[in-house]
């Protein structure tokens, strides 16, 4: 377990640029731009603060949820590149022979990459998302204090909103990672054999399957097939109608209700099958890696 944790840590060290340093720079730029906007009068603190009087806590909720959505989109994009690149990184870095000189099997080596994509790497982006939310709340609270629409006493409510939204983002993140696990596993497995070409091949494969289905079983056009419809459904992110109802009521955001409805509306059979597919793909890739020339 100690060795496996070290391998996951290795992934973090190798890819911290995309998962930690890059996001921190983004936060710093955003925060710096916000401060600058207030400083040079581009944003009127009194006017901004007054807006918060309309629905003060809802602004915090929506603002942080929006940030969370932005970070989840960022995470999806870097995870796609991680799977296509990280699984081939040992070979690209010319370090394959070094890692093969370690008492670690190829399966454990690749599994550590997949586990890193599910844990420490998204966890780091989540940490940065929390930081960005904290800074957002700080800016919002300061502007409200300037306009006199907030007091130190409202800090408790704001902290409550922060915890609720942070929990909601976490649940969304975990559900999303589990939902997209098979795509990460297959992309990683392809990258083990094809390197960066895994990215276009990952996109081509389902198209090829759909075309083959159309050729053999018929249909209106190559993408009017069962396999394509399944893929479209499977690629759609896990969702819940809770957020739709949230914005038409005055009820505060309830992260627990959101999480329960999201979890309830997930197709867990598909999650299980997807996890099985991801593991199978990684196993096959590890057998390829075991046999492929290391230098």
């Amino acid at each position: 377990m100690k060795a496996f944790s070290a391998l996951i840590h290795r992934e973090f060290i190798e890819h911290r640029g995309a998962f930690l340093i890059g996001p921190l720079i983004l936060v710093a730029l955003l925060f710096g731009a916000t401060i600058l906007a207030f400083t040079v009068g581009r944003v009127d603190a009194r006017f901004s603060g007054a807006i918060f009087t309309l629905a003060p806590l809802r602004v915090y909720e929506v603002g942080f949820l929006g940030f969370g959505l932005g970070w989840l989109l960022y995470l999806i994009s870097v995870l796609i590149f991680y799977c296509a690149d990280g699984f081939a990184a040992d070979k690209r870095d010319n370090a394959m022979l070094f890692w093969k000189s370690m008492p670690i099997s190829d399966f454990r080596m690749l599994l550590s990459k997949l586990v890193a994509a599910l844990t420490i790497l998204p966890g780091t982006v989540y940490g940065v998302a929390l930081l960005s939310g904290f800074l957002l709340f700080g800016v919002a609270f300061t502007t409200m204090m300037i306009t006199g629409t907030a007091s130190w006493g409202s800090l408790g409510n704001i902290a409550g909103v922060y915890v609720q939204v942070a929990f909601a983002i976490l649940v969304t993140l975990v559900c999303g990672l589990l939902w997209y696990l098979p795509f990460m596993g297959v992309a990683g497995a392809l990258a083990t054999a094809l390197g960066r070409w895994a990215l276009p091949v990952s996109a081509l494969l389902p198209a090829l399957v759909s075309v083959l289905e159309w050729v053999t079983l018929g249909g209106l056009h190559p993408f009017d097939t069962n396999s394509w419809r399944y893929l479209e459904w499977r690629l759609a992110p896990p969702s819940t109608d809770y957020l739709d109802t949230l914005f038409v009521t005055d009820a505060p955001f309830n992260a627990l209700t959101y999480a329960m409805t999201l979890i309830d509306q997930m197709d867990w059979l598909q999650v299980g099958l997807g996890a099985g597919l991801a593991l199978a793909a990684i196993y096959i890739a590890s057998e390829y890696r075991r046999r492929a020339a290391a230098n």
Binding site: S5, N94, A95, L97, K100, S101, P103
Partner: protein
Amino acid sequence: MTDATLTSNPVVSARGLKKSFGGKQILHGLDFDIPAGRIYGLIGHNGAGKTTTLNAMLGLTSYEGTIRVLGEDPFAHRARLMENVAFISDVASLPRFLRVRELFALLTNIHPNFSPDKARSFLEGTDIRPEMKIRTLSKGMVAQLHLAVVMAIDAKLLVLDEPTLGLDISYRKRFYRRLLEDYMSEERTLIITTHQVDEIEFMLSDIMFIRDGDLILHMQMETVNEKFSQLVVNEPELQVEARALAPVYEETRFGQTVMIYDGVDRARLEPLGRVSTPTMSDLFVALMQRPTANPERGQ
């Protein structure tokens, strides 16, 4: 049978080891045993099959035949085997994105027999610092670091495949001296391949010459010294006599005729000219020209 195959518990044992790439056979059924506590030189031309043989020993490639390293099938159990085997390949293969201290910290958790204290002590006196990124190190420094890493692993078998490729002479000498002084012991076995055979000759206990996938010589160095002789002969009439003794190799160097003999009594050669033991590189050149130097191999 060669004299090095008589041990009861060899560290490496190969029988009928074959390997093909794309229909072309690279190894033609090698048979050999490597006993514990020896320093082996595996020597051959480019493409002779040295690296393929080492890769088979290290579980890095599949093969036909049987090979056992420390009693394990290396291809089936590479991960387990690597607890007791360390190797440096012929490319600078340390992960370049790590700092030196990060590398040591990772290895401490990954390798049960790695000692960071030993690794740090091996780096004393070098310019390598813990905060340095491996990608910023020179080629020689990477070689020093890699050697420090493998020497800090308490392994029973150390395999070095062209470990000093591209390094200057001072680094190479330091590298081998360090290896001998700080690492080798009676319990450890070292297998080394290099093209600079004369530089490692002094430390070898055994040699294996491999040519076109065949093992043409496998012998202890003492036996090599007894078995092979080099004769420098200048007089034309003596050269005729010398040729009658069937040298395995003959060449002219700076106007002198040099002949190398396999198994000819030195007493018979001495009246014909100056007799000496051939250097490893002379023997390499001589034996790589002829069909086989060990006709009884594999019996």
